[in-house]
């Protein structure tokens, strides 16, 4: 610690090099920050309190295969279940489907249960009433309303693809949600009535509210066991696991995140190692002087490692700050609505990033630092770079 001022002075000596190195590490680190935050949200984070109370049941075969409507009443009887709601992925085409903006999520649900299941949604009581009373009504998230400038009373026209037909919905309410809310909910009865007889009574998903987060795994297993010998077996999992599983359908997300993080970390290691090797080579004569003054090899080793560590921790911290800006964009995107555990700032992620930066710094300077601490005074003083 005594040498801290000296370490800082040394690292600030070749300003251009230090700034370039910090910039280089910072930029790589901001990528790592985003990757770690994603990975954390996917695989390591705890669900939000409301989320922990929700399970999602679907047909075991696929997200696209249905279950009978009669399951609702049976699930309701499983101990630990507070409420069960039908949730149909509507799909549908709004205006030009090629514009990703028009591809917001639409679900057909049971209006009287929606705000019980999603306790974190806030809506005015009269709007909720109006929604319950209009079979062709819908409620939309604040983000969706802002995006298209929808107001209560507006009509939204849609063409069905999974459920063929023309649909017209009236916006009955706009709800607020702590996460991105570009989604729309409408009455499943509307859908049911417009379907031909033989297609009715099939459900894609059930959203289940349980009474205690600790029972989550037990209730899920009880539901799956109950339908084990039925024609349509179920797969019930926590909402978080459901989302991660759904995204995994798009490709090997875990592998993608790990591979990029690995490449980025290795790049930082190279950049930092290169910088330290260059600066140690230039200063080898000084090392000789320091040794004559009585600095031990250990303290010289520590000073060089400290310098590398300082540079990469500064770079890493700047990188993490930039990654927070990027994460803001990710959380605001429709993707963020999908993944409520995604956060702009997460102390764990921040810690991982800064510690990783520090470790990379130490690791990268190990070779030049050992070299410098081992050279004899005479060799060091004689060196002419």
């Amino acid at each position: 610690m005594r040498y801290l001022p000296l370490i800082l002075k040394n690292s600030w000596r070749n300003r251009r090099r230090t700034i370039l190195t910090i910039a280089s590490i910072g930029i790589s680190m901001c990528l790592l920050g985003v990757m770690v935050a994603m990975f954390h949200a996917f695989y390591l984070s705890d669900p939000t309190p409301q989320q922990a109370l929700r399970l999602v049941a679907r047909n075991r075969i696929s997200y696209t295969v249905t279950m009978p409507l009669s399951y609702e009443a049976e699930m309701q009887r499983v101990p630990g279940v507070r409420e069960v709601m039908v949730s149909q992925w509507f799909g549908g085409i709004y205006k030009d489907a090629r514009d990703p903006k028009n591809q917001f999520a639409r679900y057909a649900v049971e209006p009287d249960k929606l705000f019980t299941i999603f306790g974190e949604f806030h809506i005015a009581a009269d709007e909720e009433k109006a929604f319950e009373h209009d079979r062709a009504g819908c409620v939309i998230g604040r983000d969706l309303a802002n995006m298209f400038n929808f107001k209560v009373g507006d009509r939204i026209n849609m063409t069905g693809d999974i459920f063929p037909g023309e649909y017209e919905f009236t916006v009955r309410g706009i709800f607020d949600s702590p996460r991105a809310s570009d989604e729309m909910y409408f009455d499943k009865e509307y859908l049911e009535q417009s379907m031909p007889e033989r297609r009715r009574g099939n459900v894609i998903m059930y959203d289940i509210l349980i009474d205690n987060p600790a029972n989550s795994a037990r209730v899920a297993a009880a539901i799956d066991d109950h339908f084990h010998n039925s024609t349509a077996q179920t797969k019930t999992e926590s909402e978080q696991a459901f989302i991660v599983g759904f995204l995994a359908q798009l490709g090997d997300v875990k592998m993608f995140l790990l591979a990029i993080s690995g490449a980025v970390m290795f790049t930082i290691l190279l950049v930092s190692a290169n910088t330290m090797a260059m600066s140690v080579r230039e200063r080898i004569r000084e090392v000789g002087v320091l040794k004559t003054l009585g600095f031990t090899p250990g303290s010289i080793l520590g000073m060089i490692l400290g310098e590398a560590c300082a540079i990469s921790v500064v770079g890493g911290s700047i990188g993490y700050l930039i990654s927070m800006v990027l994460m803001r964009g990710v959380v605001k995107s429709p993707f963020g609505g999908f993944l409520p555990s995604l956060k702009v700032f997460d102390p764990e992620v921040a810690l991982i990033c800064v510690v990783a930066a520090g470790l990379i710094g130490v690791l990268s300077s190990l070779v030049p630092a050992m070299g410098a601490s081992r050279t004899t005074i005479v060799d060091a003083l004689r060196s002419t770079d």
Binding site: R17, S24, L31, I61, T64, I93, G251, N274
Partner: protein, 387 residues
């Protein structure tokens, strides 16, 4: 007069550790870019060889994928006598009514089970698909609970071997053959007899889709228009090529993310290249002075250092290609429009590698500009005194 390139080459060789470390940093950036490009290219090749421009895929109006589409046998009776449909070896129109569903099977990568597309089709459907042929075993027999799986299924799923049984619909089906569709998506499908599969799924009257083969490209277009204009049929016909091309859209988010990552990494590694070149300029101040005394102009010093930076980054680009090459042929899978697994291989083509090298050169030439300018601005006397 220009300074010979040999001067720069030797300089790079003399400081080999720094050179290699900088080049490797650039190489990793290039490798990330190449990996993404190879992935996208592999996917689009798979999708483009899967379709045949003469094939017309008929779905229910409004259906985007075969899975949500419906097609009735009575529609088929009207459709198969349309003009422009090619005749098969048995003299019947080459029109294949197909039923598509999804099954779950544990794969090596996903022991909980990954989804596969199951297709029930008549013999005409096999005859039409010229890219698909039997690799081993035999075709399924009509009336038997037998299926043939694509070669990716056999590779990626422990339970996808000949003689094993898979479960979908109301029971088990025996795998009797493995088919090879070159690079096509059919490699990830499970095929069975139309009547057997559709009755098992209780979808005898209403199957999923219909694939017809037109006699030539012009009739294919006419047939598509004819089908789409037919109010009574109420179907959506498109060329099979277009259907698969639309699925490439699945990979667009991945492509954007990957290219963004590569660009951000590129900024980082161009700073690192700058660092190396500034150090090179500083260490060689006396040399620069000497070169100036010998009569080389500021311009040629600028050019020389710039060329050196470009050489350094070209080396990085080549290293990146080397790093990305082992990816060639590695298979991975992505969900298709039916949420079922679609396996495809990374394809590192010469064109993609060239893109990588060009990317590295651009990166290096931007990063090398400033140090080179710095070198050319040195005054002879101060330069000689430095170092």
């Amino acid at each position: 007069m220009a300074i010979p390139i040999a001067y720069n080459l030797r300089n790079l060789v003399v400081r080999k550790t720094t050179t290699i470390m900088t080049a490797l940093g650039i190489g990793l950036t290039v490798a990330v870019l190449l990996a993404i490009l190879a992935l996208i290219h592999g996917l689009s090749t798979t999708l483009s060889v899967s379709g045949d421009p003469l094939h017309v895929l008929v779905l229910r109006k409004g259906a985007e994928s075969e899975l949500v589409s419906l097609f009735t046998r009575s529609q088929f009776q009207d459709l198969k006598f349309k003009a422009g449909i090619a005749k098969g070896s048995d003299g019947q129109p080459l029109a294949s009514m197909e039923v598509v569903t999804i099954m779950i099977l544990p794969s090596y990568a996903n022991p909980d089970g990954a989804n596969l597309t199951v297709r029930g089709l008549p013999p005409a459907g096999i005859e039409m698909r010229r890219n698909v042929h039997l690799a081993s075993g035999r075709w399924f027999q009509p009336g038997q609970r037998e299926v043939v799986v694509g070669k990716s299924v056999a590779q990626r799923f422990p339970g996808g071997q000949i003689g094993q049984k898979v479960k979908f619909g109301r029971g088990y089906w025996e795998i009797v053959g493995i088919m090879d569709a070159d690079r096509g998506t059919q490699n990830s499908e499970v095929w069975g007899d139309l009547n057997q599969v559709s009755s098992d799924l209780q979808r005898v009257e209403t199957v999923s889709s219909c694939l017809v083969k037109a006699t030539d490209a012009v009739t294919a277009r006419a047939l598509i228009n004819d089908l789409n204009d037919d109010q009574r049929l109420a179907v959506h016909a498109q060329s099979e090529d277009d259907y698969f091309a639309a699925q490439t859209a699945q990979a667009v988010p991945l492509e954007y993310t990957g290219i963004m990552v590569a660009l951000i990494m590129a900024v980082g590694s161009s700073f690192a290249a700058m660092n190396t070149m500034y150090a090179a300029v500083a260490r060689r101040a006396r040399e620069i002075g000497t070169l100036r005394v010998l009569g080389f102009s500021r311009g040629s010093i600028l050019l020389s250092f710039w060329v050196e930076a470009i050489l350094l980054s070209t080396l990085g680009g080549l290293l990146g290609c080397l790093l990305a090459l082992p990816l060639n042929g590695v298979t991975t899978a992505i969900g298709n429009g039916n949420f079922a697994e679609m396996a495809f291989g990374f394809q590192v083509t010469p064109k993609i590698m060239l893109t990588g090298v060009v990317f590295a050169v651009i990166l290096g030439s931007i990063g090398g500009m400033f140090p080179a300018r710095n070198a050319s601005r040195k005054e002879i006397l101060t330069a000689l005194r430095e170092g």
